[in-house]
């Protein structure tokens, strides 16, 4: 079914405020800025109808990132990035500022849920073959975004300057020293010397709130632009590929397709979904419901579980056993398996580096036209093994989490 864009009453209310005094102001601004057109373009596009709930994960990711920015801003009002004040400022939030404690909890649990949602989003995209031509760059930007979020997660874990944060900083910056040739230089740059100290915290703070977001935000923009340019691919269930449809009929269908399908020439069989729906209100509604549930989970976890704050950092401690954040458990467990000094770079860089490179290269490794997962075993089987490997590594790494 082709979607004929139309303005619903709801949108009319959005773009033309009812209140008379504001209407004239709105029209004045609208004439100069084209807000109505912008809103119209943002809300009206065709999306695949089948499997729509699974396409909400990208929107949920965006909402949680926005939540992270907002809660991060609130935290900046209290947090002091110095080795003497950082722990005290968060301890104040934990014990004397209930709102602050919840905000910090939401920031922490938001990061956890964000990583899970991005993971699911990537799995969905991978299984459905949505990275194929012409959406290769969508995938690549998505993978880089995922890596940036991981980097935000680890730098964020260093900021509280409690025992966990301090030793995480020690281990993370130490790991850098294993980078071939540049290792020690990188370590010194991050640490601001040979030892972890005040400069390390300042630099980690700067990386967390300036450097990484400065890379993240434009990349999100690019990711969304690419999504809008090529349209949501959906999955193979949206493309019937009727064998009785002639080449001419198919070409006609593609020609008459609702924008943005197809933005650029690609495989005709997967150019235009068979059954389309409106982004607004249909898909936006689903996005809103799932996003609401995600934010609710984050809020509940923030209130019920909260965010831990261990004893203040103590570089002289001989008994403290550092444990990694759960999302680094597979990597930590990998390190356990490479105990000898000469093998550590294998666990630290070669395997994770190779895995990240392969992840980015996925669209170029699988250039077959097929979208069904069972017709792409050359990629699905190794991916399944990798996923199982990560899950098992994380499970086995729980021993480290509980200091067993």
């Amino acid at each position: 079914m082709s979607v004929e864009p139309r303005r619903s009453k709801l949108v009319a209310r959005l773009t033309h405020p009812v209140a008379r005094p504001l209407a004239s102001v709105y029209r004045w601004v609208d004439e100069r800025m084209g807000i109505s057109d912008l809103v119209y373009k943002a809300l009206y596009e065709a999306v695949p109808r089948r499997g729509a709930w699974t396409y909400t994960l990208g929107s949920v990711t965006l909402i949680i990132i926005a939540l992270q920015i907002v809660t991060g801003m609130f935290l900046l009002w209290s947090y002091v990035p110095s080795t003497t004040e950082a722990w005290l400022s968060l301890n104040y939030l934990a014990h004397h500022n209930e709102f602050g404690a919840i905000v910090r909890g939401m920031h922490l649990w938001g990061a956890y849920v964000l990583l899970l949602v991005i993971g699911l989003h990537m799995v969905r995209t991978f299984v459905s073959g949505s990275y194929k031509k012409p959406r290769e760059l969508n995938w690549i930007t998505g993978v880089i975004l995922f890596l940036l979020v991981l980097a935000l997660g680890i730098t964020g874990a260093m900021l509280p300057w409690d025992q966990a944060a301090f030793w995480t900083t020690v281990v993370t910056t130490h790991v850098l020293s294993y980078v071939p040739l540049l290792g020690h230089w990188l370590q010194e740059v991050w640490r601001g010397g040979n030892q972890v100290g005040p400069v390390t915290l300042t630099r980690t703070f700067a990386i967390h709130i300036w450097l990484l977001p400065a890379l993240l935000v434009p990349l999100i923009g690019l990711h969304i632009y690419l999504l809008r340019r090529h349209g949501e691919h959906g999955s193979w269930v949206n493309y019937r590929n009727d064998p009785e449809e002639s080449e001419r009929e198919r070409a006609d269908r593609v020609l008459r397709a609702e924008p943005p399908y197809p933005a650029v020439p690609s495989d005709p069989a997967y150019s235009v979904p068979d059954d389309l729906d409106e982004f607004f209100p249909s898909q936006v509604g689903k996005d809103a419901i799932v996003s609401f549930v995600a934010v609710l989970i984050i809020f509940v976890m923030a209130v019920v579980v909260g965010s831990p704050l261990e004893a203040p950092a103590n570089a002289a401690s001989l008994t403290y056993v550092p444990t990694p954040e759960w999302f680094f458990l597979p990597l930590d467990q990998l390190l356990v398996q490479f105990p000898q000094a000469w093998m550590i770079p294998v666990g630290v860089f070669i395997i994770p580096g190779l895995a990240s490179t392969l992840l980015i290269m996925v669209p170029f490794l699988d250039r077959s036209p097929d979208r069904e997962p069972w017709k792409r075993p050359q990629l699905m089987v190794p991916a399944l093994f990798t996923l199982l490997f990560l899950i098992f590594e994380a499970l086995l790494g729980v021993n480290r989490l509980f200091n067993l």
Binding site: V336, K375, V381, F385, L396
Partner: protein, 459 residues
């Protein structure tokens, strides 16, 4: 005698030698493990294939799921009878002191285990008896199969609490810490994967047997397809085992060093080396099947041929003892001139790093590549089911038998690695066999009772 009975007869073992008691329980439990492992792996395969059969409307997959559940129901009768006999008669009679202590410490997990056992009976026999009627509401049937899968997972977890506790008990006095001991998770993951691989290997074994006995093209085609399913499952999951097994061994090394030493460098290293031999046999036989099966359908796959060669190389590397004794001096150095019962014939497992590790890594990567290439050939429609030859059926049977042997061998190694302890550093085998209960409720007994309460978290 009456005096002994009046003291605490329930704690005094029946008077047979330790060797006989060990052999009886060992034999029974190693057999029971085969049935239990098949139940867990089989339930997963049955649920998966019934689901796939429903979604893809594939009658062959539904038939496979039904066959699997039917076999599970039959196997359950024997497996559960063995377990009941072991618990009711052998444990209670021959290992009474140990059994009572273990039961007291791990009371709640064993209660959950019994509950899960009841649920298994209900779910499995409901599926067995009502397969066709439940088929009218397919999601309900698949849902019940999922319940069975979860139930069997819980059952295995409870038993793993016991097994891991015996190897690496935590010096703690509360149940959560006792349960979450260092080898629990590695053992759980190791067994979960192993059980699916085992079920797949048994499917392959039965399929190989059916291929040899098939009389009609339809029978041959189904057996051929079933063999491929079994081989893919067995090889895929076995490919993960070297890594998980390595991590399991590392935890044992960290927390029960004597057991680890015994396995890798001591008396059990011979058995461990044989395990490496079996692992190589399983993977090589499976990869050989993939390679030749594709070739039989008229397609050459140089990658699969290379995988078969590499697997053979890894097998040789992995199964070679570290001490190859060609001269008398070497025999003497390897302690091979002394009978095994006197501590001789110790063939250390060998240098784990880098040789055995290289072999394990090669096994994993070669197996994953072989499964991937084989499935790619299947997805391209290159295989015509029913064309498998005799040699491929034999490869499947070999793989199945080898997996069954390795399951028994791993159980043997795990149970013997604790020696001379029944519970590492807490109870010696001799202590339990020569156990004499206190003769009166004097201070010594009161002290022992207080100690027991401390361990059990009682009042």
């Amino acid at each position: 005698m009456p005096a002994v009975l009046s003291i605490a007869p329930h704690l005094v073992p029946v008077g047979v030698s330790t060797a006989v008691a060990t052999a009886l329980v060992g034999l029974l439990m190693l057999t029971h493990i085969q049935f239990a492992a098949f139940q867990q792996g089989g339930a997963m395969l049955a649920a998966l294939f019934d689901f796939l059969g429903m979604v893809r409307r594939d009658e062959r997959q539904t038939r496979f799921a039904r066959g699997m559940l039917k076999t599970m129901a039959l196997a359950f009768t024997i497996g559960s009878a063995l377990a009941i006999f072991a618990v009711m008669i052998l444990f209670t009679g021959l290992w009474s002191h140990f059994w009572v202590k273990l039961l007291r410490i791990l009371f709640w997990p064993l209660v959950v285990e019994a509950g899960a056992f009841v649920l298994e009976i209900i779910a499995l026999y409901t599926l067995y008896v009502g397969w066709d009627r439940l088929g009218r509401v397919r999601p309900l049937r698949v849902g019940l199969e999922l319940v069975l899968v979860i139930d069997l997972f819980v059952q295995m977890l409870m038993i793993n609490f016991v097994a891991s506790y015996m190897l690496t008990p935590r010096p703690a006095f509360d149940l959560p810490l006792i349960l979450l001991n260092p080898t629990l998770l590695p053992l759980e993951v190791h067994r979960l994967i192993g059980n699916v691989a085992f079920a797949g290997a048994l499917v392959a074994l039965v399929a190989g047997w059916r291929m040899l006995r098939a009389r009609t093209p339809a029978q041959r085609a189904y057996a051929d397809w079933m063999g491929a399913i079994g081989a893919v499952t067995a090889i895929s999951f076995t490919a993960l085992q070297p890594l998980v097994g390595w991590e399991y061994a590392k935890e044992v090394q960290l927390h029960a060093y004597a057991s680890w030493y015994d396995m890798m460098l001591g008396g059990l290293s011979v058995a461990f080396l044989f395990q490496m031999f079996l692992l190589g046999l399983i993977l090589t036989a499976g990869i050989f099947f993939f390679w030749r099966r594709v070739r039989t359908s008229g397609f050459r796959s140089p990658t699969l041929a290379l995988c078969a060669v590499l697997s053979l190389g890894a097998w040789l590397l992995g199964a070679t003892p570290s001490s190859l004794a060609w001269t008398y001096e070497q025999v003497f150095a390897a302690n091979a001139n002394v009978p095994i019962w006197n501590g001789g014939l110790l063939i250390p497992f060998g240098q784990m790093i880098p040789w055995k590790l290289t072999a394990l890594v090669a096994f994993t990567f070669v197996s994953i590549t072989a499964v991937t290439v084989f499935l790619r050939e299947v997805s391209r429609g290159h295989l015509r089911w029913g064309e498998a030859r005799r040699s491929q059926a034999v490869a499947l049977i070999t793989m199945g038998v080898a997996v069954s042997l390795i399951m028994a061998l791993m159980g043997f190694i795990r149970e013997n690695a604790r020696g001379p302890f029944l519970i590492t550093n807490q109870m010696l085998i001799n202590q339990q066999q020569n156990f004499v209960p206190p003769s009166s409720a004097g201070p010594a007994q009161a002290g022992a009772a207080a100690g027991a309460n401390l361990v059990l978290g009682g009042p």
